[in-house]
């Protein structure tokens, strides 16, 4: 098991290194620079500013400087928000993004699993039908359509919740979390339903029932653990979905999280900030993928010897 984790961690580190290198060079190769969209300034001033950010050096040297800084946990100053370091900006945005992302995963997991089980136990019943419809809606209507529609209904027309921002405490959390959770509820309930139906047909369930174990206990102890394996495997992709979604959510609901920062930084060619957020997102995603693999390997020993 330790060997397995070590191998996965090593692969993850390689992936992260590849991602960071690729991002660095793609950013430098993309047309335009951090100061090409600002007001016209004299060439001398421009040269001075670029020298201050070491942008006049050859790309390889810049890369070396970046890696050196990274080893000292220093991502450098943002080229856009002059007086802030990348660390400051990420530290200020991360709490918003994490709060929304965390609650969205929790809500999606709970509701998704519950809907899936309900659907599997009463196949083709009313709940199953409703859950199915709900699932299709969640998958087919994109966040950036459903978000504004919810804003319109619940904030502008009914006035129950704030339109956006972060001013109203937990009430400003509800809309972003619900909208971000919707597509994941849909995926999780579908996954749970199919795997639950499959598990209920397994021989060991029949054995458990034949031994005289009660229906409820069989369900909780025997079927659920088997049925949740594919759902656990979805945590990795779900993290990716949450990251993608949070960029949209923060744009729609005007939340000052790091998702929106990333898009702005990419558009403004704020090289250091892009690198910082890429590192964070990539690291998070890779860690969650490894975590998922480890949990699955722990639940299902057959997977440990794969590859």
């Amino acid at each position: 098991m330790l060997r397995f984790i070590g191998k996965r961690l090593w692969n993850g580190a390689l992936t992260l290194a590849a991602l960071v290198t690729l991002t660095f060079f793609v950013m430098r190769l993309a047309p335009g620079g951090p100061f090409s969209r600002t007001r016209k300034i004299s060439p001398d001033v421009q040269a001075n500013i670029e020298a201050a950010f070491h942008l006049d050096e050859p790309v390889w040297q810049q890369f070396g400087r970046f890696v050196w800084g990274l080893l000292h946990l220093d991502l450098g100053p943002s080229t856009r928000f002059r007086d802030y370091s990348v660390g400051d900006i990420i530290a200020s945005g991360l709490p918003y993004s994490l709060t929304i992302g965390f609650w969205a995963i929790v809500v999606a997991g709970l509701i998704g699993v519950a809907l899936g089980i309900a659907g599997a136990l009463r196949r083709n019943g009313l709940t199953d039908y409703l859950a199915g419809t709900f699932g299709v809606i969640g998958i087919a209507i994109p966040i950036f359509v459903i978000g504004p529609v919810f804003q319109l209904i619940f904030a502008l027309k009914l006035g129950w919740l704030p339109v956006g921002g972060w001013g109203a405490g937990w009430r400003s959390l509800i809309l972003p979390v619900v909208v971000l959770a919707l597509p994941n509820i849909a995926y999780i309930s579908r996954l749970t339903r199919t795997s639950m139906i499959e598990t209920l047909r397994e021989n060991y369930i029949r054995t458990a029932r034949a031994k005289g174990i009660g229906w409820r206990r069989t369900l909780m102890r025997h079927s659920l653990t088997g049925a949740l394996l594919p759902v656990v495997a979805y945590i990795g992709p779900a993290t990716a979905a949450i990251i993608t979604g949070s960029i949209l959510i923060e744009t729609i609901f005007a939340v000052p999280g790091i998702g929106r920062h990333f898009v702005d930084a990419a558009l403004n060619r704020d090289y250091p900030l892009v690198m910082g957020i890429t590192l964070l997102y990539g690291g998070l995603l890779i860690l969650f993928n490894i975590g998922t693999d480890v949990v699955r390997a722990w639940m299902d020993p057959r997977l440990r010897h794969d590859r």
Partner: protein, 288 residues
Amino acid sequence: MTADAAGSTSTLHLQFRRFRQNRLAMVSVAILVLIVLACFLGPHAFPFTGEDADFENIAAPVNLFSIHPFGTDDFGRDLLVRVLEGGQVSLSIGFLGALVAGGIGVLYGAIAGYAGGRLDGLMMRLVEVLYGFPYVILVILLSLLFGGGTIALFAAIVFTLWLTPAVIVRAQAQSLAQKEFVQAARAGGMTGGQIVLEHIVPNCISVVIVYGSLLVPEVILSESFLSFLGIGIKEPQASWGNLIQTGTSAMDTDLRLLLLPGTLLAMVLFCLNFIADGLRDAFDPNDR
């Protein structure tokens, strides 16, 4: 060769017959065809394009019997025509993108799976590394690298979406490579390339159809996602993504700007998902 072709078409026939019996999927196909036709033929019914401003009718309201059935936007551009033209962009990127990404993935996977050994290990290592990347970051960076615009968007989306078909086809190709008919082909003197193209790829066709149909909504969604964020298709060219974005900023005063493109996009995604489900049920009945 002929006997083989006849055999595979008859299975395909059977599978498509099963697909045709799926009423939901067939209705979805019909609606999708209607939307596609409307987007590509509809704009020709109007004497102006979606980029022409009508200064007499700026921000005209919905009036089904006027020249602008769904009104105009703040620049006097006809909303219906803009949405239909945006549909042309979104749909073509969707179908072409899925085709190209699927094609690359299938070839890559087939080669890796057939070759096996070290080449396979190397090729799959690359896929694994790319898989670990956050998809959004990659797609945003690549569309910046290619300088924005339709082609850049297309390239970025294709570059990020060929991975899943590659992995799926590789697994299939690996088991096919052990089959007797492939060994026979090799003994008969076919080169590796010929075997991949003539035996491996055709035998993966049903898997490819099923997963290819899932790629189309994914590509359309990526396109509108990026255009919504202001990275993909830019004004004055219309796409569903940037139309929805404009609609969002004006939704408290004028809902049509959001609802018209939003509804069409959602309908297309609904249809594509139902069709993909239908194809999956028809093509691999074990997967239930």
